[in-house]
């Protein structure tokens, strides 16, 4: 069990490409932290630097109290689960799990006991004598988890472990890994590009882009209080709608205009009168797809926040419908209950929940109000 301290971490490849730029992160003991971001954002590189599989160009990395910049992977007290499982193809499941312990000269009885315990937890008892090629993708991934478990490491590192599994198995394994974390009470660092995985599994999520941390927060805060346009767009599916607008001021009230409709920004959202700096300036308005409302009761209650939307396309998802349309020539998407399924090309009136809107600085992309 250990915390991880990453201070000013830097990774530059010999060709001069900088993938990680001054990364600072404190991971608490027993925490399940998820690194998430688009391809090439540096999340896997960061994880591989924690594992010791990638040299650190600059900065400091400590696991527990020990700086491990120059410590070999085997001596870092970590275990890693790889995207492609990385099982030893020539060894049986048992041997795959035993290998690391045998190299550490752990007594055979102890190895046997640990493997049997792990196999029981992971439901692998029947497969201990099989080779990886005789296992399904899900079973292989469980073996990879088992191999990590028996090492009893201070830190578990998981590099997109579910991306090769089909959707159903992925959901199943997602809960299994979460349960495993609860059971093992060990620090987990999990890399994924899938925001659903990040949101459902992480105690905290680190959103990365171009080698820089965009925000570190709980899943709830990332969703409700995104720090910038990138995080707001990355977290949430379908993603948040962004509409260009301008802030206007009348006395102490502030308004934004969307497609001819003037919406008053609730005073409670204007903390420290931050909007005074933006009066007359262009901003980006962020509205989550669920913050558009079609039901009559809401429309009657909010006569000042109604807006016309022409529907281009609808997608029936079962419990709800995704409606694609346009406001001010900008494509938007919103969720509607399935009983409200609008027709394509139909013009409908929707109400925007102004209490839930986000405003972002157009230049810095930082959040102004949340």
């Amino acid at each position: 069990m250990a915390s991880i301290s990453i201070r000013n971490l830097n990774k530059t490849y010999p060709d001069g490409v900088e993938v990680i730029d001054g990364l600072n992160l404190e991971i608490k003991d027993k925490e399940f932290i998820v690194l998430v971001g688009p391809s090439g954002c540096g999340k896997s590189t960061t994880l591989r630097m924690i594992a010791g599989l990638e040299d650190i160009t600059g900065g400091e990395l400590a696991i527990g109290d020990r700086v491990v910049n120059d410590v070999q992977p085997k001596d870092r007290d970590i275990a890693m689960v790889f995207q492609n499982y990385a099982l030893y193809p020539h060894m049986t499941v048992y041997k795959n799990m035993a290998f690391g312990l045998e190299l550490k000269k752990v007594p055979k009885d102890e190895i046997d006991q640990k493997i049997k315990e792990a196999a029981k937890v992971l439901d692998l008892e029947k497969y201990l004598n099989r080779k990886p090629k005789a296992l399904s993708g899900g079973q292989r991934q469980r073996v990879a988890l088992g191999r990590a478990m028996v090492r009893n490491p201070a830190v578990f590192l998981l590099d997109e472990p579910l991306s090769n599994l089909d959707a159903k198995l992925r959901t199943q394994m997602r809960t299994e890994i979460s349960k495993l974390h609860r059971k093992l009470q060990t620090t987990f660092v999990y890399v994924t590009h899938d925001q659903t995985e990040a949101m459902t599994m992480g105690d905290r999520i680190v959103v990365l882009k171009d080698g820089k941390i965009q925000q570190v927060d709980t899943p709830e805060n990332l969703y409700n209080k995104p720090a910038n346009i990138f995080v707001a767009g990355f977290i949430g599916s379908p993603q948040m709608n962004f509409i260009n607008s301008k802030v206007t001021q009348e006395g102490s009230k502030y308004f934004i205009k969307i497609d001819g409709c003037t919406l008053e920004i609730p005073a409670g959202k204007n903390k420290n009168d931050i909007l005074s700096k933006y009066a007359g300036k262009e901003v980006v308005v962020g509205i989550r797809p669920e913050d558009f409302h079609l039901d009559q009761a809401f429309i009657e209650m909010a006569p000042k926040s109604l807006i016309d939307v022409k529907i281009d396309l609808t997608e029936m998802m079962g419990a709800e419908v995704y409606c694609y349309g346009k406001i001010d020539d900008e494509a938007i998407i919103f969720r509607a209950p399935s009983r409200f399924r609008p027709k394509e090309q139909e013009e409908i009136v929707v109400a925007i929940d102004v209490n839930k809107i986000h405003l972002f600085d157009k230049e810095t992309t930082e959040s102004i109000i949340i």
């Binding site: 099982l87 290998f99 690391g100």
Partner: protein, 292 residues
């Protein structure tokens, strides 16, 4: 329509296959059958001959020259196989690591393979006869001052060096392609488990390139048992018949020694021996291969 397509396909198939089958039969199968026929005669390579039954085969087993050539050839092939596989594995590991000019170095190490065995033999002949003794004299080394080829005790060693120098090229290439089949993340998992250095080679690399080891062992053993070009160009079987390989003996005894029938019997036995060894090697090593 389907029938027409099938008949077109079978016509193409036959047009491609039949000439090759005829050529193979005439120049290979016929020759083998004819050779087997001659092995039952006392044919000298010219003139008439009589049928002698299995006499040649019986005589082979008591012919000291033939027994010596078998001992030499097997000893030579085993030493060469071990040496070549060790060197080429080490080279392949080196050439697969992160080094500068990797592509150029791989090309350079492959060069010997494109040269003919005779050419290499004559080049090494010059080297062992003039250059190496010259160096020996310059550094006052008694052992090096004499040509390796001049003594029955050292000539086999010169042959080993020459043959191995060429054979390492192809073996290295095969091992390099084998090493490329090992996934990088398996090595990384190994690094976390503590498999580094020799432990990594022993527990991960070698078991995973075992199929390539099998191929190399079989190819080496077969090629070295059949060593001929380098013997012709380097030692001519000498000195004192000390480097007379079986192939060389079949050739020299059969064509210029007036014992065509007798050496044909030797060739038949040799053929059976090589096939048996290759099958045995394949079976044995295949059983050691990990089914990935």
């Amino acid at each position: 329509m389907k029938d027409k397509l099938n008949s077109n396909r079978s016509r193409t198939f036959l047009a491609i296959t039949i000439p090759i089958v005829i050529l193979f039969f005439v120049f290979n199968t016929m020759a083998v059958i004819q050779g087997f026929g001659y092995s039952l005669t006392n044919f000298k390579g010219f003139g008439g001959y009589d049928f002698v039954g299995l006499r040649n085969y019986i005589d082979l087993f008591s012919d000291e020259r033939i027994i010596n050539s078998y001992i030499f050839t097997f000893g030579f092939a085993i030493i060469c196989t071990i040496l070549v596989n060790i060197i080429s594995l080490v080279l392949a590991l080196g050439l697969s690591s992160k080094i500068r000019a990797q592509g150029a170095l791989r090309a350079i190490y492959f060069l010997p393979n494109i040269l003919g065995g005779l050419v290499i033999g004559y080049v090494f002949n010059f080297f062992f006869t003039y250059i190496l003794p010259g160096i020996g004299e310059a550094i006052n080394s008694g052992a090096l001052s004499n040509s390796l080829l001049a003594s029955p005790k050292t000539a086999w060693f010169a042959l080993v060096i020459t043959v191995a120098w060429q054979a390492v090229a192809l073996n290295t290439l095969i091992y390099i392609s084998g090493l490329q089949t090992v996934p990088e993340d398996v090595y990384e998992a190994g690094a976390i488990d503590g498999a580094v250095g020799f432990k990594k080679f022993k527990n991960i690399t070698f078991p995973l390139i075992m199929p390539f080891f099998t191929i190399n062992m079989v190819l080496c053993m077969k090629n070295f048992l059949m060593v001929f070009d380098q013997v012709v160009s380097l030692t001519g079987g000498g000195p004192a018949r000390s480097t007379e390989s079986i192939s060389f003996l079949i050739y020299s005894g059969g064509l210029s020694g007036g014992a065509f029938g007798y050496q044909s019997a030797n060739a038949v036995i040799f053929f059976v021996v090589i096939v048996t060894i290759s099958i045995f090697q394949l079976r044995f090593l295949n059983s050691k291969e990990e089914q990935l």
